[in-house]
C-alpha cells in the first residue's frame, strides 16, 4: 500500500481526513557529516484509521511524527493533510491547521506547569478563538475522571492524571487527527493500560484518526495497522 501511494502527487484526491506522506526524508547537518534520520518514507492513512508507527529507539519514529504533524519541515518529500501540503505553508499556516484539525498527546505530557488542569485544556480552544472555552474543557475533564481536580496544577497531579489532562486537551477541540507519541512511556503498566484504554475509547467516541508512535508491540497491536521503521526507512506497513 505504501509503495503504491508513494507515486501519488501531493495534491491527490484522497478521502477526508487522509494523511499522506510522499517521499519523506529528513537529514541533519552535523559538524563532520550529514546524518540521514528519515529517507523516502511514503504512505497514506485514511480517515478514522488507527495506525501505529513502531521501531527501535533511534529509528526515526519521533521525527516522522514531527513531520506528519507539521512541527518540523522535511528535507525532501511532502506531507498532505486533507489535500493541504503542510510544507507549502509557513509556520503560522501550519499552526492554524494544527489548531483546527490536530490533537497531540506526548510522552512527557507537555502540560504548561503554570496553568491549572482546566486552563491547560482551555488553551487550544482559546488559541483558535473560542469564546466559551470553560464549559467544554470542564466537560471533557469530567469525562476523563478529573472533575474534582480542575484547579490543580500539573505538579499537584500524578503522572497518570497529567496524561489524562493531556488526553482531555487533545480531544477538547474534537480534532480530525490525533498524534500520540509514546503516550505510556512515562507511566507504570497499570496506569499506562488505563490511559491507553481511555485513549482508544475517546478515539472511537470522536471518530478521530489516530497516529500512535510506540515501541510497545502490545500497544501497537491494538491499532488497525502498523508501520514499521528501521534506520529511518519504512520496512513494513
Amino acid at each position: 500500500m505504501t509503495s503504491s501511494m508513494a507515486a501519488s502527487p501531493p495534491h491527490s484526491s484522497v478521502g477526508a481526513g487522509a494523511l499522506t506522506a510522499a517521499g519523506l526524508g529528513k537529514r541533519v547537518r552535523l559538524p563532520d557529516h550529514e546524518l540521514t534520520i528519515l529517507a523516502d518514507v511514503s504512505f497514506t492513512i485514511r480517515s478514522g484509521e488507527a495506525v501505529a508507527i513502531v521501531g527501535a529507539s533511534g529509528s526515526g519514529k519521533s521525527t516522522l511524527l514531527s513531520l506528519l504533524a507539521g512541527l518540523d519541515l522535511p528535507s525532501t518529500g511532502s506531507v498532505s493533510l486533507d489535500d493541504i501540503v503542510l510544507s507549502a505553508l509557513d509556520e503560522d499556516g501550519r499552526a492554524r491547521i494544527r489548531g483546527e484539525k490536530v490533537g497531540f498527546v506526548f510522552q512527557s505530557f507537555q502540560l504548561l506547569p503554570a496553568l491549572t488542569a482546566i486552563e491547560n485544556v482551555m488553551l487550544p480552544l482559546e488559541l483558535r478563538g473560542d469564546r466559551d472555552a470553560q464549559a467544554p474543557a470542564k466537560k471533557i475533564l469530567e469525562r476523563v475522571g478529573l472533575g474534582e481536580r480542575l484547579e490543580h496544577y500539573p505538579r499537584q497531579l500524578s503522572g497518570g492524571e497529567q496524561q489524562r489532562v493531556a488526553l482531555a486537551r487533545a480531544f477538547v477541540t474534537e480534532p480530525d487527527l490525533l498524534f500520540a507519541d509514546e503516550p505510556t512511556g512515562n507511566l507504570d503498566t497499570d496506569t499506562g493500560r488505563a490511559i491507553v484504554d481511555l485513549l482508544f475509547e475517546l478515539n472511537a467516541q470522536h471518530g478521530t484518526t489516530l497516529v500512535l508512535v510506540t515501541h510497545d508491540e502490545r500497544l501497537a497491536a491494538r491499532c488497525s495497522r502498523v508501520l514499521r521503521l528501521a534506520a529511518g526507512r519504512l520496512v513494513s506497513a
Binding site: 519521533s62 503560522d92 490536530v102 506526548f106 507537555q110 504548561l112 486552563e119 482559546e126 488559541l127
Partner: protein, 827 residues
Amino acid sequence: MAWRQLRRDLAAGEIRILLAALLLAVMAVSAVGFLTDRAERGLAMEANRLLGGDAVLRADEPLSDSWRAAAAIPGLRQTETRGFPSMVRVGEALKLGDVRAIGAGFPLRGNFHVQMAANAPEIIAHSIPARGSVWMSRAGAQALAAKIGDPVHVGASTLTLTALVTQEPDAALDVFSTGPKVFLNLADLPATGLEQEGSRITYRLIVAGEPSAVESFLATAKQHLGRGQRLETVADARPEIRSALDRAGRFLGLAALVSVVLAAVAVAMAARRHSARHLAGSAVMRCLGASQRTLVGIHVGELLMLGVIGSAVGVLCALALQSVAGAWLAQSLGLAIPPAGWRPAFEGFAVGLTVLFTFGVPPVLALRRVPALLVLRRDLDVGEPSAWVAGAVGLAGLAMLLWWKAGSPALGTAMLIGILVTLAVLATLAFALIALVRRLRSRLHGPWRYGLANVSRRAGASVAQISSLGLGLMVLLLLTFVRTDLLSRWQQALPADAPNRFLVNVQPEQVAPITDALKKLGVASPTLYPMIRGRLIEVDGKPASGADYTDDDRAKRLAEREFNLSFAKTLRADNEVTAGKFWSAGGSATPEISVEQELATTLHWRLGERVAFDIAGQRYEAKITSLRKVDWQSFQPNFFVIGSPGSLDGYPASYIGAVHASSTQTGFTNTLVERFPNLTVVDIDAVIAQIRSTVDQVSLVVEAVFYFSLVAGILVLLASVSASQDERLLEGAVMRVLGGSRRQLLLAQASEFAAIGLLSGVTAAIAAMALAGVVAKKVFDLPWSPDWKMLLIGSVLGMLAAMVAGMLATRRVLRAPPSVTLRELQE
C-alpha cells in the same frame, strides 16, 4: 571534573549568562573605579592649578636645601616663591602692596593672564617677569595710577612695570587681598634689600609632576614638617571648590555602588538559572553514587574558575573601556587625565569573587540536596530549601560591598535599608496585583488573557521578577533623581548673576554715594557690608593668641591674623543660626557677637563665652550669643564674626560689597574708580569663570559614570527575563503545537512583559522618590520634594525595558520550530 564541566557548560551556553553577569559586575566596578580614579586625579590636578602646582610647602622661615633635595625626584618639577607685604610706590602714589617674588617656571600648573598695555587683549604669559621688571595686578595698578613703562619702587630697587596681571594662577586663594600685587623675578629680590632677618616673608616651595612622584613627595614632606611649615592642597583652598569636589566624590562613589548592586542582582538571577539547569544532571550524579561533597566540589570549583576567568576578562574589558572613555573625558574636559592606578583592578577581582560567592554560590549549593528520585520523576517538585540562607548570605555580601564601596556607613546603611524596603514594598505590591489579576483571569480572552494571566499563574516567579526588575529600575531612577538634583543644585549655586565685582575699602561716608552710583550703573539693590579689622586678644578673660593653638595649624593661623569683623541688624538669608539666638533688629543692651560655627569649633569657642579684640588700639569685648552656618556658595562677602548693631560704633570701619556687572558694562570699574579714587574694585569674573569651569567638568564626569550604570541596569533587566526563558520556550512551543500563531505568542509575551514592567516601574518610582528624599536630605544636604512625573517615567521606562529585554531574550520562542524546542527542553 569541575574544569570539564565548566568547558562543557561554556560550550553548551548554559553558563554564559552567569559569566556575562559576572563579567559585567567586574567590568562595571572596575571601569567605574578606573574612571572615578582617573577623574578624581584629573580634577585634583585641575584644582591644583589654583595652587600653581600639585602641592605647595609653605613656611614662614627660609626653606633649607634639604627640602629642595626632597623635591628633586624623577618626574617632579619644583619652583619657589616668596611673598610679603611691602610699601610700593609709583610716582607720588604709595600703597602697602603684596609683593611676590617668583622663581623660574612658576606657575607649574595654570597660567598668568596678562595685558601688555592698558587696553591690550589679555594673553597667557609664558614666562615670569624678566630681570629688572615687575608685573602688577590690574586693580593694583588702577589704585596706584600706574601705567605700563612706569618705574615701580619696591624696597631699594626701581623696576619697570611691563605687564598688568588680570588673572593669577592662584588668585582664588586670596580674593579679598586689597593692596596692589607686585610680581617680580626671584633673582631681583636680594637687590630690594627686603629679605632680612625678621621680615614677614612667606616661603613657598611648589612642586608638580607625575601623581606617584607628587604622592611620594607629600609622604616625605608630611614626616619632616617643622614649626611654621605646612602643606597646602586644594582642600585648603576656597570652600566652594572643596564642597564641589567633595560632592563629586560622593556622587561617583554612589554611582559605583549602584553598579555593584545591579551586578549582584544579575549574578543572583543567572545563578538561579544555572542551578535549575543542572538539577537533572546532579540527580543523575547522585544516582551514580556522587556524595554531596563531590557535587559541592564540582559546582563550587566550577564557580571559582568561572570567577577567576570572569574577573580577569572583566578587568581587561574595563581597562579597554576606561581608556576609550578616559580619552573622551579628557577631550571634553580639555585637561590631561592621568592614567588610573591598579587599585580598581584589585577591587574588581574582590567584588567579582564576593558577588559570585555570596550571590552565585548559595543557589548552586542547593544542587547538592537534589533528590536522586528526580531521575525517575522529572516532575518532582524541587523547591529551594536554602532560599532563606541564600537570601541571608546574599544580603550579608551586599551589605559588605555597600559599606565598602560607599565609604561611609551612613550612605551604605541608607542604601541597604532602601533596597530591603523596596524589595518588601515591591513584593507586597506584586502580590496585591497578582491577586487582582487572578480575579480578572476569567474575564480576559485569547493571548492577552494568557499573557496577563501568566503574571498571576507564576506567582512566586512573578514576585521575584517584579522585585528584581523594580530594584534595577529603582536604582536607575534614584540615580536620575540624585543626579538631576545635584546638577541643578550646582547650577543654582552659581547663578548667571553671581557677583563678579568686589568693592573694597569703601569709607563710611562713601556708602550712600557709592550705593547711588551702583544703582545708576544698573545694580538693582547693592548692599555694602561694614568691615572692621581686629586682632584676637582675650577669650573668656584669658589672654589669647596663636600660641594657644600649637596643635592645630588652621586655628593658629586664624588666631594670629586679623579678623574681619562686621555688624548687622538682621540675619542674612545665606546665614542660618545653629545654636543660641540672633539678636532682634533693635539691637541689644550689651555687645553681642555671632560666630560662624566651624570657626567656633576650630578655636574652641563656646556659646556664652566673652571674646575680646584689639581694634586699632581700642578694646572691643562681646559675648557669643549665637553660632551660624554660612552658605559659602552665595558669593556674597561673609564674616566669621558679626557684632550686634551699635556695639561696633566708633571703631574704624570700611565697607565692602559684591555686585554683578554685566559683560556689556565695560566701563564699570573705571566709572567707579574715577569718582572714588580710594576705592578698590576686584574683578572676580576670572575667578568665577574658573569655578564655573570646574563645576562643568565635575558634571561631565558624573554624567559619564551615570551612563555606565544605566547600561549595567539594562543588562540586569535582560538577565532577569532570561531567568525564566526555559519555561517560556516550553510554553511557546506547546502553544505553537496547539495551534497558536506567531502573533498570538507575541501578544501573550508582550502583554505579560508589559504588565511586569508597568508594575515594576510604578513601584520602583515610588521607592526611588522616597529614597531620593533620604539621600538628598541626609547625605547631600540638599532640599528635596517629590517629583511625580517620575511615576510616568518609571512606568514607561519599566514597560519599555521589560518588553524590549523580554522580547529580545525570548525571540527564540517565536523563531524555533516547536519540535526542536520541545526536544531540546526535554533532553
